[in-house]
C-alpha cells in the first residue's frame, strides 16, 4: 500500500462523543424501555381509561348506584341500561363504575400503605442487620405462619365489614412480603462490591443509603407495589364472596361479582360485567408490572 492513499486525520476530542450514544439518566432509560413494551403501554392506557371512567363516569349516567326500581329488576342489557339491571332494579353500568372507585381505591390505598410500612420495616431490618434483623424477621415469620384467612376473618369479625376496615385488614396482611423483599434487597446490596468500594473511598452511610441502596431497590419495590394493587382487589373480591365486603348499597366489583355468581344461570350478564371489569383491570396492572420488571432489569439494556 502506498502511503499516499491514507490521509492523516487530526484527532479531535469532540468526535469521540459522536460515536457513543446520547447519555440518559437511569429513569429516562427505564421509561424508554417501558414504552417499547407494547403490552405495558396497552395496560397503562386501559388503567387510565378505567380511572377516568371511575372518576367521571358516574356523572354521565342518568342513574345513581342506589336507586332501586323493583319493577325493572334483572333486565338484560338494553339501550336504556347498557349493562342491564341487578336484582333490585339498579342500573348495573352505574354500579360497575362506582365499583371501580371502590375497588381501585382499595387497591391503591392497600398498595401505598403496605409500601410505606414494608419499606420502613424492611429497611430498618436490613440496615441494622445482626440482632435487630433476626428479631424483626422472626416476628414476620410468626405472623406469616398464621393462615391469612384466619386474620382477615377475625379482623373483619371484630372490626365489622366496611370500607375503612377492609383497608386495615388488607394492609395488616400485605406489608410482610414487601418488608421481606426490602430487607433482602438491602442485605444483598450492602455486600456488593461497589458499595464496599464506596465505603472504602470514604462515602458516608447517608450517601450510601441515598445514592446506592434506595435507588437500586426502588425497582423491585415499585414492581411489588404495582402488583399489590391487583392482589388487594382480588382479596377484596374473595372477602365479598364470603360476605365480608363493603356495606350495602355501596358495591365494589367483588360484591357485584359475588352477587352475580349466584345468579349465573338465570342472569349471566350480572356476573359477566363485573368479572370482565376485574379481569381487564388486573390484566392491565399485571402488564404494567411485567413491563416495569423488564424495563428495570439492567441486563436487558439494549
Amino acid at each position: 500500500m502506498k502511503a499516499e492513499i491514507f490521509k492523516k486525520v487530526d484527532f479531535q476530542l469532540d468526535m469521540s462523543y459522536d460515536i457513543g450514544r446520547s447519555s440518559t439518566t437511569y429513569w429516562q432509560d427505564v421509561w424508554r424501555r417501558l414504552n417499547k413494551n407494547k403490552l405495558s403501554i396497552l395496560g397503562l392506557i386501559i388503567i387510565s381509561f378505567v380511572i377516568i371512567a371511575a372518576i367521571v363516569g358516574p356523572f354521565f349516567t342518568p342513574y345513581s348506584y342506589s336507586d332501586q326500581n323493583l319493577q325493572i329488576a334483572n333486565q338484560s342489557p338494553s339501550t336504556v341500561h347498557w349493562f342491564g339491571t341487578d336484582n333490585l332494579g339498579r342500573d348495573l353500568l352505574t354500579r360497575v363504575l362506582y365499583g371501580a372507585r371502590i375497588s381501585l381505591s382499595i387497591g391503591v390505598v392497600a398498595s401505598l400503605s403496605t409500601m410505606i410500612i414494608g419499606v420502613l420495616y424492611g429497611g430498618i431490618a436490613g440496615l441494622f442487620g445482626g440482632r435487630v434483623d433476626t428479631i424483626m424477621m422472626r416476628i414476620v415469620d410468626i405472623v406469616w405462619s398464621i393462615p391469612f384467612l384466619l386474620y382477615v376473618i377475625l379482623l373483619m369479625v371484630v372490626l365489622q365489614p366496611g370500607l375503612m376496615n377492609i383497608f386495615i385488614a388488607l394492609t395488616l396482611v400485605y406489608w410482610m412480603p414487601m418488608a421481606r423483599l426490602v430487607r433482602g434487597q438491602i442485605l444483598s446490596l450492602r455486600e456488593l462490591e461497589y458499595v464496599m468500594a464506596a465505603k472504602l473511598a470514604g462515602a458516608s452511610s447517608w450517601r450510601i443509603i441515598t445514592k446506592h441502596l434506595i435507588p437500586n431497590s426502588l425497582g423491585p419495590i415499585l414492581i411489588t407495589a404495582t402488583l399489590t394493587i391487583p392482589e388487594a382487589i382480588f382479596s377484596e373480591a374473595f372477602l365479598s364472596y364470603i360476605g365480608l365486603g363493603v356495606s350495602a348499597p355501596m358495591a365494589s366489583w367483588g360484591v357485584l361479582a359475588s352477587e352475580g355468581a349466584s345468579s349465573l344461570r338465570s342472569y349471566p350478564f350480572q356476573l359477566f360485567f363485573p368479572a370482565a371489569a376485574i379481569c381487564i383491570t388486573m390484566l392491565s396492572f399485571n402488564f404494567i408490572g411485567d413491563g416495569l420488571r423488564d424495563a428495570l432489569d439492567p441486563r436487558m439494556r439494549k
Partner: protein, 310 residues
C-alpha cells in the same frame, strides 16, 4: 448441617408455640362464643354446657389444660359437632384436601414449567406473547369466578363433568383447574424469566460455543438453575393449596379442611379453629424448611446459613 437442622427445629417449635398462644388469645377476645345461638339457650342449659366443656374455668386454666393436651396430640372435642373431636375432623378433611391439592399442584407445575420453557425458548415471538397473556389471564381471574364459569360451561351447558360433590376422579377436574389456574400462571412466568436470565449467562454461551445441543443446554444446564425462583414459590403455594381452598371446596361441595376452617370461625368452634391453625402453621413451617433444603440441592453455591436467615 446437624447444627443447622437442630437450630431450625428449635425455632420452628418456638414459632408454633407463639402461634398457638396468639390464636388462643385472639379467639377468646372476639364477641360470640360457640353457644351463642339464635334461639337463646336457657341459663340452666348454658351453665350445664359450659361446665361440660370447661368453659367456665378461668382463662389461664383453660390455656394450660389445652397446652397439656397438645403435648399428647389431643386437640380436643369440637364444640359444634358434638360427636367428633378435632383430630377426627382433621383426619377426615385433610386427606381430601391433599388429594385435590396434589392434583392441582401437579397440574400447575407440569403445565406451568412446560409453558414457561416454551415461552423462554421462543422469546419475544408470538408463542411467547400468547403464553404470557394466557398466564396473565390466569392471575387475573378470582377463583370463584373461574369456578362459576367452569361449572356453567362444562357441567351445565356441555355436560362433560359433574357440577359438584366428591365421588371419584372426574369430580376432581373442574375444582382442580380452578385451584391450579393461578399457580400455573405464576409458575409459567417464573420459569420463563428464570430461563431467560440463565440463558443469557456466560456459561451457557460457553456451552453453545462448545457445540452442545440446544436440548441438552435447556434441560441439563439451564433448567436446574432457573428453577430456584419456582421452588421458592411452589413451597408456600403447595402448603396453601394443601390446606384447602375454602371457595373451591364450598362451590364444589368437597369435604376438605379449608371449608371446615372457615365455618369453624363462623361457629366460634374454638378447638377446631385452634387445631386447624396449629396444623396449618406446622405445615407451612415444614414446607418452608423443605424449600430451603431444596435450594441447596439445586444450587451448591448457596450455603444454608446464609439462606437460613431468609
Amino acid at each position: 448441617m446437624l447444627q443447622y437442622v437442630s437450630k431450625r427445629i428449635l425455632s420452628m417449635v418456638l414459632v408454633i408455640y407463639i402461634v398457638i398462644t396468639a390464636t388462643f388469645l385472639l379467639m377468646h377476645s372476639i364477641p360470640g362464643g360457640p353457644f351463642t345461638t339464635e334461639k337463646q339457650l336457657t341459663p340452666e342449659v348454658l351453665r350445664n354446657i359450659n361446665a361440660r366443656y370447661h368453659l367456665d374455668d378461668p382463662l389461664w386454666k383453660q390455656y394450660t389444660d389445652y397446652m397439656g393436651n397438645i403435648l399428647r396430640f389431643d386437640l380436643g372435642p369440637s364444640f359444634k359437632y358434638q360427636d367428633r373431636t378435632v383430630n377426627n375432623i382433621i383426619a377426615d378433611g385433610f386427606p381430601v384436601s391433599v388429594q385435590l391439592g396434589t392434583f392441582a399442584v401437579l397440574l400447575a407445575v407440569t403445565v406451568g414449567i412446560s409453558a414457561g420453557i416454551f415461552a423462554a425458548l421462543r422469546h419475544n415471538r408470538t408463542l411467547d406473547y400468547m403464553i404470557m397473556s394466557a398466564s396473565t389471564l390466569g392471575i387475573s381471574i378470582p377463583s370463584f369466578i373461574l369456578a362459576s364459569f367452569l361449572i356453567y360451561f362444562f357441567a351445565f351447558k356441555i355436560k362433560l363433568f359433574p357440577a359438584a360433590m366428591w365421588n371419584g376422579f372426574s369430580y376432581m377436574i373442574l375444582p382442580g383447574i380452578s385451584l391450579a389456574a393461578l399457580p400455573m400462571a405464576v409458575v409459567a412466568r417464573l420459569t420463563r424469566s428464570g430461563m431467560l436470565e440463565v440463558l443469557s449467562q456466560d456459561f451457557i454461551r460457553t456451552a453453545r460455543a462448545k457445540g452442545v445441543g440446544k436440548r441438552a443446554i435447556v434441560y441439563r444446564h439451564a433448567l436446574k438453575n432457573s428453577l430456584i425462583p419456582v421452588v421458592t414459590y411452589v413451597g408456600p403455594m403447595a402448603a396453601g393449596i394443601l390446606t384447602g381452598s375454602f371457595v373451591v371446596e364450598s362451590i364444589f361441595n368437597i369435604p376438605g379442611l379449608g371449608r371446615h376452617f372457615v365455618t369453624s370461625i363462623y361457629n366460634r368452634d374454638y378447638t377446631v379453629i385452634l387445631g386447624i391453625t396449629i396444623f396449618y402453621s406446622a405445615l407451612i413451617i415444614i414446607f418452608n424448611f423443605l424449600v430451603d433444603v431444596a435450594y441447596v440441592l439445586l444450587d451448591p453455591r448457596i450455603s444454608l446459613e446464609k439462606k437460613g436467615d431468609n
